[in-house]
């Protein structure tokens, strides 16, 4: 065993990263001392001056001032000032900067030379942020989307909700509107693997962070936001880049007086839509119908129905609208954001603070001493400080902290919204008005009834899940904090060779999360002996509680990340040959304090070297080579390292001489293509627990696997259980990607079109082996890198900008993303050989569900008996009015061999968005639509099934079953649509929306089938905004900027699906997405 050869890991722990650090500091020291020594070597003449921009006379920082014919040169400082010592035999200076036309100036006798550089129209602000640095926009040969931070300003405290439709190449949708749990799902160019971890790599200021951290970013703090999509832009991230990269950098300070900017917003939000439920009378009548039609006795007496109808005492005849009882119709949010930006000669700063406050829609009982509503406070502080240690050395310190303080119901808002539609409106009153003998009772008298037909609780005990009691019995108090410290050092190494830079970045961040759950045990009562004449009743306690609050510690998480990178880059032009190069080395370590096993507690590490080389000739022909070389601790030594190269070329046709004639119509035309390999290390069930595939995982003292012996059963010997067999061959997922793109600008850039076609083959996807017969007797499933998926698609964007003569301007933008995929290799039985080729996954989209083909409902029991065997006994478990499935292999029974892919993928194939902004003088107007297409979801027949119990036992992916509801019973509510359209003996419609009613789960009808598939596409008016800019770039009332705006979000939705908000998909019972009306003020000082 070579595991014996790995001594004292703890001492090796930091040696890798510490070396990076040590050398960097050493280098810095050398450079600093060197600068001091070298001054005055050629001290013949000193020239100083200032380089300014023609637009606003501001200084241009970073302009290279070079003595012609030498390698001597300096850069201008942040104010554009420079000072250079020139040998006596030279008299020409060259001023050059990216985005400006290079100028040569003869100094003559002057000792002060101030010049104004002319902007290079073609290259102006055409620098884009890519992995570990920037490159000229023209030099981009791959596919990436840069988003203007302004486009991300939506009235929500979650940035991820702003992405849908605004970024070409990003598939995004939101499945819950609960504050604190409303992150959108998003995938760069869709999904290309079936391992369920398809989220992109998220980098904020170069550091890998989570979706939650991205969600908390303030758009005001964002300098640039890019989505990297193709191999040339992502291969540099090696084994982390295959799912695409979201790259965000935050603002840094600039030279000048402090500029204060404040934004205040206040919004009102309400659900986009709620599910329409049937009234209590219909509920009872149909529940009786459901019992009778299945040959059982009716649940409700006519007396009870009549009493409810006459609205007699609501304690005795409850008729509860759970939505109304549990939730408010609207709620408010406040957001406050402030930042200061400025700086002097030696240092620049950007400091931002923000506070957001979100209220949930949940009601609290006035008799409760605490609030159960969701109450989310978020605080954020960011300080980015740049300091020039020497003219060539810049130090940047970034400090950042976010604090979330969330109070809310014990089970979360999604669970409560679920509970509202999954509870009977008539079984019990949520709270029973205390009778006279109970006046002064020190607890809330929650209602609850005895269990019915065969509950597991005893007959004289409360048996039902009372959502109101669940909501009021306690709350959770959670806190999440991210603290991040980052040091960056940039050293210019022009002395070695011009254009060479060394950069070092060290980062440490910790995330901590904890929740305290405080709750009491509710008391339940039942109404008995209701006397109609006197309107009196007596109360029986059905379950004793405990008034005092108890604490149950909730989920806790504590993790720490250390990250270091050192980069050397080089930019230089030789006549028409422009070159740029980058080599970066990085080390990352992640530690989790809440591991439950030894192997999960060990640090996760990533080590790598990456590089990028760009070359272009005359800004016309471009070439780029990238590579990433990564190692991870998760794999065996021989498979630990992965090499991921990529190549790209581009041709800027519009820069060709022959093209100039067309220049007025077509202002820019570029073709790009790239090809390469990228890796994905997010394999296995989850990054933390499924690790070390090359080692077996064994519990040598498992209580569950042991045995007991002896007369008194006292000799207890623990056993051995195996949860993983060693597989040294497991390694990365590999993606082979290709991209072809075109940029076309027309009419002097008034119209800009970008289109990209891409395809990808993801191979070595970790998959559970299905070829291994169970007779082999393996305790743990074997996994190996066998799967492969092919993905392809198109994304593009179209921008239109036009300013009319009389201060009227118009911009319009549209994005479109199409992405599809299919299983290429998937280990599965040879279905074709057994006559069921349709069961095979090969060729299907990985996100398509599988199920039976529902033909229609059975006409009667007789037909069910004469049809292929389904689920249970025909005529007994299913019959007339139940779903009839298609027996595809004609073997006389509906089995798993009759399952086929049904519907479209659950991850949409198409996302699009379009909108326009226009302004006239001080008024601006903005509208944005967003949509999804080519997607399906299925209605869950168990969760939506009227009258059935859906909280005992476990439904997959259900917020409610996580709760303490287990063991209690529920009766689902009745959705109006089902009440209106179901099969019944009076109306035996074989195409009714809902089959024959039942009060118990009907296994036959609950199968995943086409019966429940719905089209998930929709288009919605995502945002509408009107703004008035009162002050701009002038000083008035002490302000330099003032804009007031009114925004509406999620205002209208068009979809063929009407039961709930289609964006929620199969999670229609979740906390609804919000329609928001927002008033904001932005002020600059």
């Amino acid at each position: 065993m070579n595991k014996r050869l790995l001594p004292h890991t703890s001492t090796v722990l930091y040696s890798g990263t510490s070396k990076v650090l040590l050398f960097s500091f050493y280098l810095l020291f050398v450079l600093l001392t060197k600068d001091a020594n070298s001054s005055g070597s050629y001290a013949d003449k000193t020239i100083s001056g200032r380089v300014t921009d023609p637009g606003d006379d501001s200084g241009i920082p970073g302009v290279t001032v070079l003595v012609k014919g030498t390698t001597l040169g300096v850069n201008t400082d942040a104010e554009g000032k420079y000072r250079i010592t020139v040998p006596s035999n030279r008299d020409t200076l060259i001023f050059s900067a990216v985005g400006y036309i290079t100028q040569e100036v003869v100094m003559g006798n002057k000792s002060v030379i101030d010049i104004q550089l002319q902007t290079d129209e073609k290259a102006l602000d055409e620098v884009v942020v890519v992995g570990f640095g920037t490159i000229k926009k023209d030099a981009v040969v791959g596919a990436m989307t840069s988003v203007k931070p302004g486009d991300l300003k939506v009235p929500a405290s979650n940035l991820t909700t702003a992405l849908a439709g605004r970024v070409s190449g990003l598939i995004s949708y939101q499945t819950s509107g609960e504050p604190g749990a409303n992150n959108a799902q998003f995938f760069v160019r869709g999904v290309a693997s079936f391992n369920n971890q398809n989220g992109p790599l998220i980098l904020i200021d170069n550091v890998e962070l989570t979706v939650d951290d991205l969600a908390r970013l303030q758009p005001d703090d964002i300098e640039s936001f890019s989505v990297l999509k193709d191999p040339t832009t992502t291969a540099i991230y090696g084994a982390r880049g295959a799912n695409g990269v979201i790259l965000v950098s935050t603002k840094s300070g600039n030279n000048g007086p402090a500029v204060v900017s404040v934004r205040v917003e206040n919004s009102i939000s309400s659900p986009v839509s709620l599910i329409k439920m049937a009234d209590p009378i219909t509920y009872m009548r149909l529940q009786n119908e459901a019992e009778r039609t299945r040959g059982r006795f009716a649940t409700y007496t006519e007396e009870k129905i009549k009493g409810t109808e006459r609205e007699l005492n609501p304690n005795a005849y409850p008729a509860v609208d759970w939505y109304k009882l549990l939730f408010r119709e609207a709620t408010t949010q406040q957001r406050f954001n402030m930042n200061v930006r400025g700086g002097g000669v030696k240092a620049r700063y950007y400091v931002a603070g923000s506070y957001t406050h979100d209220n949930g829609l949940i009601r609290s009982d006035p008799n409760n001493p605490f609030q159960s509503n969701i109450n989310l406070d978020r605080f954020l502080l960011r300080a980015n400080v740049n300091i020039d240690l020497t003219p060539k050395t810049e130090m940047i310190v970034r400090l950042h902290s976010t604090l979330d303080n969330l109070k809310g119901p014990l089970q979360g808002g999604n669970a409560m919204y679920n509970a509202a539609v999954r509870t009977s409106p008539v079984r019990f009153a949520p709270v029973i008005t205390p009778t006279s003998n109970l006046i002064g009772v020190p607890h809330i008298t929650f209602g609850n009834d005895y269990g019915p037909r065969g509950s597991t609780t005893s007959a004289n005990e409360a048996a039902w899940f009372n959502p109101y009691a669940e909501l009021q019995r306690g709350y959770r108090d959670t806190r999440r904090q991210l603290s991040l410290v980052q040091l960056e050092l940039n050293q210019k190494l022009d002395d070695i060779t011009k254009g060479l830079n060394l950069r070092f970045l060290g980062n440490a961040n910790t995330t901590s999360y904890f929740e305290n759950r405080r709750s009491y045990i509710p008391y339940f009562y039942r109404v008995q002996n209701y006397d109609q004449l006197n309107d009196t009743y007596s109360m029986v306690r059905t379950k004793a509680g405990l008034e005092a609050l108890q604490l149950e510690p909730g989920y806790r998480e504590n993790s720490s990340v250390f990250y270091a990178q050192t980069a050397i880059d080089y930019v230089r032009s030789f006549n028409k040959h422009n070159t740029q190069g980058l080599i970066v080395a990085l080390a990352q370590e992640f530690l989790n304090a809440n591991a439950s096993t030894v192997s999960a507690s060990l640090p996760s590490r990533n080590l790598g070297i990456s590089g990028r080389f760009n070359y272009d000739y005359n800004n016309t022909y471009f070439a780029e080579v990238n590579f990433g070389y990564n190692g991870s601790e998760r794999f065996a030594r021989n498979n630990r390292w992965g090499f991921f190269p990529s190549f790209g070329v581009g041709w800027l046709v519009s820069n060709e001489k022959f093209f100039t004639d067309l220049g007025t119509k077509i202002s820019r035309l570029k073709f790009r293509t790239s090809f390469g390999w990228v890796g994905n290390d997010k394999i296995g069930s989850s990054a933390a627990s499924d690790r070390f595939f090359y080692l077996s995982e064994v519990n040598l003292a498992s209580g569950q696997a042991g045995s007991v012996f002896g007369k008194r059963f006292e000799k207890n010997i623990n056993g051995v259980s195996i949860s993983r067999y060693a597989n040294a061959k497991v390694t990365w997922e590999r993606a082979r990607k290709m991209n072809v793109g075109m940029d076309l600008n027309l009419l002097e850039d008034a119209i800009q079109l970008r289109v990209d076609y891409f395809n990808e083959t993801r191979s070595s996807i970790l998959q559970t082996r299905s070829d291994i017969p169970s007779t082999l007797g393996l305790q743990a499933l074997l996994k190996s890198n066998v799967g492969s998926v092919e993905a392809w698609g198109v994304d593009g964007s179209l921008d239109i900008n036009h300013s009319f003569a009389n201060q009227l301007w118009l911009t319009a933008r549209g994005t479109y993303t199409f992405s599809d995929n299919r299983y290429k290799i998937f280990e599965e039985p040879n279905y074709a050989a057994i006559g069921a080729p349709w069961v095979s996954n090969i060729g299907n989209n990985v996100n398509v569900q599988k199920g039976f083909i529902a033909e229609r409902l059975f006409v009667d029991d007789e037909e069910a008996r004469n049809s292929p065997q389904q689920f249970g006994t025909p005529g007994l478990d299913y019959g007339g009015g139940d779903i009839k499935y298609k027996d595809l292999n004609k073997d006389g029974a509906i089995t798993s061999l009759d399952r086929v892919p049904i519907g479209k993928p659950t991850v949409p194939k198409v996302t699009y968005g379009f909108g326009a902004s226009m302004g006239y003088k001080k008024i601006d107007f903005n509208v944005f639509f967003q949509g999804l297409a080519e997607t399906s979801f299925s209605i869950d027949p168990h969760r939506t099934g009227p009258f059935v119990n859906s909280i005992t036992g476990s439904l997959s992916n259900d917020p409610l079953t996580l709760s303490s509801a287990n063991g209690l019973l529920s009766e689902n509510g009745l959705i109006q649509a089902y009440a209106d359209d179901h099969w019944s003996e009076e109306n035996p419609n074989i195409y009714a929306l809902w089959p024959r009613l039942s009060t118990t789960v009907n296994v036959n009808n609950n199968q995943n089938s086409t019966w429940w598939i719905r089209d998930g596409s929709f288009i919605r008016l995502k945002q509408l905004e009107v703004g008035y800019t009162a002050i701009k770039n002038t000083r008035k009332w002490g302000m330099s900027n003032l804009r007031v705006y009114l925004t509406g979000t999620n205002l209208l939705t068009w979809s063929t699906f009407k039961m709930w908000d289609p964006e929620l998909g199969g999670n229609g019972f979740n906390y609804p997405l919000q329609k928001v009306f927002n008033l904001g003020i932005q002020v600059g000082f």
């Binding site: 890798g16 005893s458 007959a459 519990n699 040598l700 070829d771 089995t895």
Partner: protein, 636 residues
């Protein structure tokens, strides 16, 4: 200058790419647990052995089909309707995720092939620990072999032909190697017997357990002999011996999986094995259990007999037990399922400490003999036609039925085992901390303390499985507790062996010898021998004298004596009687009745279903798909 930088850069690059990188990624400490470590020390190997015992199917559990899927014990639907066994007994087996299937990973119980793999791992590595004693290594090897034999046997009983797992196949051997096919049942039997013989011949396997405090429950030679007898009897039984129903059941290559020609020598071998097992057991201190009169002085013989027949099962580790499941015990919780609520001081709350829902259907109550030791339908003196009517208990029945109370005629004039094994309305419940004189009795009508009061904790037939309750178990009234002595599940006991021997002897024509062994069981149960009993009281008086007649008698004797012990379920299958007996209605008294008149009416509360395909469990579809060399069982 220039050189200086160059050096620095080179150093930097080397530091990042060079030697330290490898180490940076070596985060795993040397002593993280891996499989090899399980055999580094004796103690670890012992844990592995404990793991093998852990793979014994859960006998005392809802997951034991012989309890929950048999027709001996019915449980009200409110509690049991989602139990796999319940669905199974109603004909609800399926092949997508077979219920209680021990073959494969789709069911609710574990895949026994995992146990077989671990047996082989253990057998291959048990010599590895540096500190293991040779004698220990030998003994453990023998134990592992017996377990390996038992797991094969368990699978064979369920599935018929199974692949024999002689050694472990590794994934690396390739697809064709891992795609095993099924071996004919005769070969499986031979293999099981060869494993047991190897264990029996092992000198380090003890005859009986001497370190009772630490080792009871471990396997012994006595257990190995008894198991061998059980395996050979099973293999000789109609299900596996000349079963022509499976004539067409072959592997894909045509191999016949069931022998279709009856072979009497299988019974001869079985009889020999039974004889040997009995001799070894009796030679090592095992005998039929008798209740010690000093434990409950002054009681009548009737009561002693009741306590004897009950104690044969419930007295922990009594001398009749040849192999007890120390991992599967009748805990107080399980005994509570059999316990009727009889303490007169019970309150609404304290009643809930027992669940009382294991209910023998009326047919099981009718199965017991009359007081003359013959079936009630054959007893000339028994008023069979009026058995559902009622009468008042007189003094002569005072140890069985509360004097002066009314109960059904069916409950009168029955053999002692009827009274020892069953609780019923107005029946005496001996023990429970009371002397004979003060014995509690069951009051099972609605509204009474043992009757239906809540949704789940009640008997659906009005009968209770008293046999499973240790006589000292007490449900106390004020503190709402239930205490009961825990006892091991009898995987095999001596009475079982006697009856297997009687059965085997009868099948090879040694009728008179068979009488000896069945009569030992009857004598203990307070009954006369079969010949005398039938001659004096039965309408078919010569029944015990011929092979067919005696076969019926032995079958019934076995179903009575081993009632509620998880035997009937398998016996009915090996006798091929399941179709005839298991398609039956579940009948009981009208438990909703509040008085004698309404209570003593027969109510049907369900129906057992069994079709010919249910004799063998289905293989799951996914197993058939993963291994094309496997054939599905007939009918599935």
């Amino acid at each position: 200058m220039f050189n200086r930088y160059k050096t620095v850069f080179l150093a930097l690059l080397i530091s990042l790419t060079g030697g330290s990188c490898g180490k940076f990624l070596d985060v795993v400490p040397s002593n993280i647990a891996v499989i090899e470590e399980a055999f580094e020390t004796r103690d670890n190997a012992e844990r592995f052995l404990a793991t093998l015992y852990n793979y014994l199917p859960p006998f005392v559990s809802d997951l034991n089909p012989a309890f929950t899927a048999s027709d001996e014990i019915a449980v009200n639907e409110n509690i049991s309707r989602n139990w796999a066994g319940h669905i199974l007994s109603r004909g609800g087996q399926n092949k997508v995720a077979p219920l209680l299937g021990y073959w494969g990973n789709t069911g609710s119980v574990s895949n026994l092939f995992i146990a077989l793999r671990d047996c082989n791992i253990f057998l291959e590595n048990v010599d590895k620990p540096f500190d293991i004693l040779p004698s220990e290594q030998e003994r453990w090897t023998a134990e592992a072999k017996i377990l390996k034999a038992y797991f094969h046997f368990y699978l064979m009983r369920m599935y018929g032909p199974i692949p024999i797992i002689r050694r472990n196949i590794e994934v690396s051997e390739g697809l064709e190697a891992v795609r095993v096919s099924r071996d004919p049942v005769d070969q499986v039997t031979d293999y099981i017997i060869s494993l047991l013989d190897e264990a029996i011949e092992n000198p380090e396997l003890p005859l009986t357990i001497t370190d009772v405090g630490a080792e009871l429950g471990r396997l012994t030679k006595v257990a190995a002999y008894a198991l061998k007898a059980r395996v050979l009897v099973t293999a000789a039984s109609p299900m596996f011996n000349g079963n022509t129903d499976y004539a067409a059941f072959t592997n894909k290559d045509g191999t016949q999986l069931f022998s279709t020609a009856y072979d009497e020598s299988k019974w001869t071998k079985a009889a020999e094995a039974c004889k040997q097992a009995i001799e070894i057991a009796e030679g090592n201190g095992h005998h039929l259990f008798r209740f010690d009169k000093n434990e409950m002085p002054g009681s009548s013989d009737s009561t002693y007999t009741k306590l004897t027949v009950r104690g044969a099962l419930t007295e922990p580790w009594n001398n009749e037990l040849l192999w007890g499941g120390s991992n599967s015990t009748f805990t107080p919780g399980f005994q509570g399922r059999a316990q009727a609520k009889i303490n007169p001081l019970l309150t609404a709350e304290s009643r809930e400490s027992t669940s009382s829902y294991w209910s023998p259907p009326l047919r099981i109550a009718e199965m017991f003999y009359s007081s003359h030791g013959v079936p009630i339908s054959e007893d000339k003196t028994y008023n069979y036609a009026n058995r559902y009517q009622t009468s008042t208990a007189k003094e002569d029945h005072k140890h069985y039925i509360k004097e002066g109370k009314i109960t059904a005629n069916l409950n009168y004039n029955r053999e002692p085992r009827f009274y020892g094994f069953l609780g019923f309305d107005n029946g005496i419940w001996e023990g429970h901390g009371q002397t004979e004189k003060n014995s509690f009795f069951v009051e099972a009508k609605k509204g009474q303390r043992a009757g239906i009061l809540d949704a789940t904790r009640y008997s659906l037939s009005g009968y209770f499985t008293k046999k499973l309750v240790h006589y000292e178990a007490v449900q106390s009234a004020p503190n709402s507790g239930y205490s009961a002595e825990r006892y091991p599940f009898p995987i095999i006991r001596l009475a079982d062996l006697y009856l297997l021997y009687a059965e085997s002897l009868n099948e090879i024509g040694q009728t008179a010898e068979a009488h000896v062994w069945i009569d030992k069981i009857r004598e203990r149960a307070g009954l006369k021998g079969v010949v005398d009993s039938w001659r004096d009281f039965s309408i078919s008086s010569a029944k015990p004298l011929n092979k067919e007649g005696l076969r019926e008698i032995i079958h019934q004797e076995r179903m009575i004596e081993l009632c509620f012990e998880g035997q009937r379920f398998w016996d009915l299958r090996r006798w091929k009687k399941a179709e005839a007996l298991m398609n039956s209605t579940i009948r009981g008294w009208n438990i909703q009745g509040e008085d004698t008149e309404s209570y003593y009416n027969i109510i049907v509360s369900g129906r057992y279903q069994f079709s010919s395909r249910d004799y063998l469990w289905p293989l799951s579809e996914s197993d058939i798909l993963a291994n094309p060399n496997l054939v599905q069982n007939p009918g599935w």
